[in-house]
């Protein structure tokens, strides 16, 4: 059935009525509110997208984002022209940056990227064919507003994940060898449940000795691994190249462990629940049973929700924030569309719309390199051509796109910084932030502003700022504030910019615009998106 424009608008009206939260920002919201929402929900606000959100109001804007055409990654060839394996991922990497810069399904892309940072498949040293990545990335794109259980199934059977964590061709144990535990373990530890059971508010449950309680044991890993045996690549189509990296994996019953399995889990209430899979089931039945057993554990929702909040809004969500969103997860069957709506409209996400004073002291998060570069591109009328090597720049900042150093992603959700002599805060992106990368970050900002580019195919324009600078310092500062700080740039940053502008050598509109931008964009006030 073809979706017509009128059907789409009717659907939008229905969805926005259904979703309308009493507190979601309405039509006519201030530009600063719109800009700040777009900082959280897109790859960066622009004048056009700010105006669009203001005119629609949040609910209709959200519905339009869900309905927007889904960015899709086209298939890559398996072989290069000389007939050897095509392993160069740069084409897919550049597509990512172009999609983020230009395509309208911004929120979906942000959510998909967050999911890819949880369900890690890395090109680094393991999954070498470039062709492995588009089908995987398309799963994240298509499932971004679906259910978490669907995502679990789709990624589990994706061949790139199969290759990365050995879900593919994991044969049942013999008397002298065991089914390998790689996917069975990391599926639980990193993608669904986490190491320790959590309250609905994200706090670890503590035992009588004040210690966290492990969610699973070595036996869980062994039994889970047995349950997940017996999958292989789908048959290669006629004339195609094997392995088939484009279709979901298929069962290979002869390599499936058909013994009875008892998979023990601990639940947040402290009880042990054994997921029992009877003997002689098919690989599909055991897979369904194992995934359902994982999904049924109440600790899954807080484990997943907290990370989504960390990627979109703040590294340190309050227990109340997590619990509220977990409630939505649990009452909607893990519906990510509804979960993301709640993440963005909950008061803790929106309090800062009216000023930093309304945010908790540890609110916000460091812009990860990919987000930083995209924010600059969108704010500075950036252009990315296919020959861009933008991926090398984020790599030098510690984040090589799709080349996570391990299944533990670019950075850990538990990474922590001290914020005082006896206090600490979660700050996952800081795992990439070192004396080296902090300097490189500033130097790339310098290059974008003073050279107008990173490489010749990754370009930035400060023309609007030069025009403002030729009017007055105040006009320049206002434009910087509206573009990068949702209109709420601090007085100390304004003062610092004025100091920079007081240099007698900074005597042209261009030099003024550059100096002001450099001070603003290297400031920690900008680096911490809040």
């Amino acid at each position: 059935m073809q979706i017509t424009a009128s059907m789409r608008f009717a659907a939008l009206a229905m969805i926005s009525t259904f979703l309308c939260g009493a507190q979601s920002p309405p039509q006519g919201m201030p530009a600063s509110t719109a800009a700040r929402i777009l900082e959280q929900a897109t790859w960066g606000p622009t004048a056009a997208t700010i105006a669009d959100l203001q005119s629609k109001g949040f609910d209709a804007w959200f519905a339009a984002q869900v309905a927007a055409p889904i960015t899709t990654y086209p298939n890559q060839p398996m072989l290069n022209s000389s007939g050897t394996g095509f392993t160069n991922l740069s084409g897919v990497q550049v597509q990512f940056f172009e999609n983020a810069l230009y395509n309208p399904d911004q929120l979906r892309q942000r959510v998909a990227f967050a999911l890819s940072e949880i369900w890690v498949v890395s090109h680094e040293g393991v999954v070498s064919y470039a062709a492995a990545f588009p089908p995987l990335l398309n799963i994240f794109q298509n499932d971004a507003f679906g259910t978490y259980s669907q995502l679990m199934k789709d990624v589990t059977l994706n061949p790139a994940m199969g290759e990365y964590l050995n879900m593919v061709n994991n044969h049942k144990s013999t008397s002298t060898s065991s089914a390998n535990e790689n996917y069975g373990r990391e599926l639980m530890q990193l993608f669904t449940l986490g190491l320790n059971v959590l309250e609905p508010n994200g706090n670890p449950v503590l035992d009588a000795n004040n210690n966290p309680i492990p969610t699973y044991s070595p036996k869980t890993v062994t039994e889970m691994s047995a349950a997940l045996t017996g999958w292989t690549y789908a048959p290669t189509p006629t004339g195609g190249v094997s392995p088939n990296l484009f279709s979901p994996m298929v069962a290979q019953q002869s390599q499936h462990d058909v013994s009875a399995k008892m998979i023990p889990f601990t639940y947040p209430n402290g009880t042990t629940v054994n997921v029992s899979l009877p003997a002689n089931q098919t690989a599909e039945q055991d897979l369904e049973g194992a995934l359902a057993g994982i999904y049924a554990n109440p600790t899954l929702a807080p484990f997943v929700v907290k990370q989504l909040i960390q990627h979109l809004v703040t590294s340190n969500p309050s227990p109340a924030y997590i619990q509220d969103v977990v409630g939505v997860f649990n009452t909607t069957g893990g519906n990510l569309q509804k979960v993301v709506y709640e993440i963005l409209t909950y008061s803790e996400a929106r309090n800062g719309d009216s000023g930093v004073a309304n945010e908790a002291g540890n609110f916000g998060h460091l812009r990860e390199p990919v987000l930083l570069v995209e924010n600059l591109l969108r704010a500075l009328n950036g252009t990315v051509f296919d020959s861009s090597t933008i991926y090398n720049y984020t790599s030098n900042l510690g984040q090589s796109l799709f080349n996570e150093p391990s299944v533990f992603s670019y950075f850990s959700p538990q990474y922590t910084v001290a914020t005082g002599p006896t206090t600490a805060a979660l700050a996952p992106e800081f795992q990439l932030h070192t004396t080296q990368t902090a300097v490189s970050r500033a130097n790339y900002i310098y290059s974008a502003i003073y050279n107008g580019q990173l490489d010749g195919s990754t370009m930035f324009s400060i023309a609007n700022f030069v025009t403002a600078a030729s009017t007055s310092n105040a006009a320049l500062e206002t434009l910087i504030s509206n573009t990068f700080f949702h209109g709420l740039m601090s007085s100390s940053l304004t003062t610092a910019i004025n100091t920079a502008l007081s240099d007698p050598k900074t005597n042209t509109a261009t030099l003024k615009a550059q100096a002001a931008l450099y001070v603003a964009l290297t400031s920690s006030e900008f680096q911490i998106i809040h």
Partner: protein, 444 residues
């Protein structure tokens, strides 16, 4: 000129108030020694299957034929091994064939093997391991075991700081170094090993910390403005943390550039990642006097060791890189006449199951064998005890040959730290749990 905010980056630790135990930091003592010492940690990320790194041939509890039988598809034939090496105990050992440079350093007497080391809360036997109170937290989890090797805190409750960082803090208290340049340097990004009260410095191999267009005298208004911002409270704690990192960079950039100017390393290093890291370390060591350093700790890393499948093939790629890079480093230390002053050692998440997986790899295990290299090391020797090569017996955590360690990370680190000139008990508060005899007497 700059006020350096010290915001500690403490890695994966529990949030909330940092209950930092008093680790018995010694009162500051000025050092009168004029010798230089450096420790270089090479962390093998993923969990190196050290069962195939060094293989005993004729120990009473562990023979090559038992190895061959049990390791099945993972058993290396003699054609994939070095020639047998006779250690000082009269027993013979193979090394993996692609580690021939390290085997030669072993035979030469400069490389030692520490057998069956791992995080331990206390010495533990197979009958006790079902009691969670006496075994490390989250055994077999990559992130936890990496953390426990780097902090030597197997409970993960006592400290967020690395034992390298704690050692660097002692160096600071004991005033070994004459400048404010950090004692601890990583050439591989962030790490928990160097987390401590004092900040570590991170440098990319071949990199520098110079800010383009920045006037370090602050005479230029734009640079002055930036410096003011870096020292201004915004009310955002993460912004303060970011400021701290940049202030550290600014503090260290000029001295670093000055120290490295004109300093070249003459040995040819492999152009691999580990080669580049160790070459950078060698260059910094060569610049130590300008940097004002008498004691330094370095962190390097090498990943890819999580060999659940096709392990033999993967080691054929990784082990030559490991061996050649370390060999080049030791050669350069000799060129600089510092071989007795610099000790390099390995760590890893864990070793791997003696029994293979159906994919011709191995799963996560526990006790692992490591290498310690330097002119001060009494090499050609195995320190510690190899496990019995039998599945499901006393040395096995379960039935797959996950060896229960017989030496602790505390003991392993203590030997290195004592040689380094810092009191190991100040760094490893749990050391006394393992008794007064340290099997890892690499230096005495």
């Amino acid at each position: 000129m700059f006020s350096r905010r010290r915001f500690i980056r403490i890695g994966a630790a529990s949030v909330g108030s940092l209950a930092l135990r008093n680790f018995g930091l010694l009162p500051a003592m000025a050092q009168s020694t004029s010798d230089y010492k450096a420790l270089v940690c090479v962390f093998l990320y993923g969990g190196n299957d050290s069962n195939n790194t060094v293989i005993p041939i004729d120990l009473p509890q562990a023979t090559y034929s038992e190895y061959s039988n049990l390791r099945a598809s993972l058993a290396l034939p003699t054609t994939s091994l070095t020639t047998a090496r006779t250690a000082v105990d009269g027993h013979n050992y193979y090394f993996h064939g692609d580690l021939v440079e390290l085997a030669n350093l072993f035979t030469q007497g400069n490389l030692a093997v520490a057998a069956n080391v791992g995080p331990l809360v206390q010495p533990v036997t197979r009958s006790q391991i079902s009691n969670p109170a006496v075994i490390p937290a989250h055994l077999f989890s990559h992130s936890d075991q990496q953390s426990e090797w780097q902090t030597s805190d197997p409970t993960e409750q006592n400290t967020p700081f690395g034992w390298g960082g704690r050692t660097a803090d002692q160096v600071d208290l004991q005033k070994f170094n004459t400048s404010k340049f950090p004692t601890f340097m990583s050439v591989t990004g962030n790490d928990q090993f160097g987390a401590g009260v004092n900040d570590q410095i991170e440098l990319n191999p071949g990199g520098n910390l110079n800010l383009t267009g920045f006037d370090y005298t602050l005479a230029q208004p734009r640079s002055n403005a930036i410096n003011t911002l870096l020292n201004t409270e915004t009310g955002l704690s993460l912004a303060g943390a970011a400021n701290g990192v940049m202030l550290n960079s600014i503090s260290d950039a000029q001295l670093l550039t000055k120290a490295l100017t004109g300093v070249t390393v003459t040995t040819t290093f492999p152009t691999t990642s580990l080669g580049a890291q160790l070459k950078q370390v060698a260059q910094i060591i060569k610049a130590r006097e300008t940097l004002g350093m008498q004691r330094q700790i370095f962190f390097c890393s090498f990943g890819g060791f999580d060999t659940h499948t096709v392990e033999l093939e993967t080691h054929r790629t990784l082990y030559p890189q490991l061996s050649q890079a370390i060999n080049a480093f030791y050669t350069e230390m000799n060129v600089q006449s510092l071989q007795n002053s610099v000790t390099l050692f390995t760590e890893s998440d864990f070793s791997r199951t003696f029994q293979p997986t159906t994919g011709d790899g191995s799963d996560h295990a526990w006790g692992s064998h490591h290498m310690v290299l330097g002119g001060a090391v009494k090499g050609n020797k195995i320190y510690g005890t190899f496990p019995t090569f039998a599945l499901g017996m006393n040395d096995d955590f379960d039935t797959r040959g996950r060896w229960i360690p017989t030496g602790s990370v505390d003991q392993y680190g203590a030997a290195l730290v004592n040689w380094f000139g810092v009191n190991a008990s100040a760094v490893f508060p749990n050391l006394a749990t393992f008794g007064t005899t340290n099997p890892f007497s690499f230096f005495s």
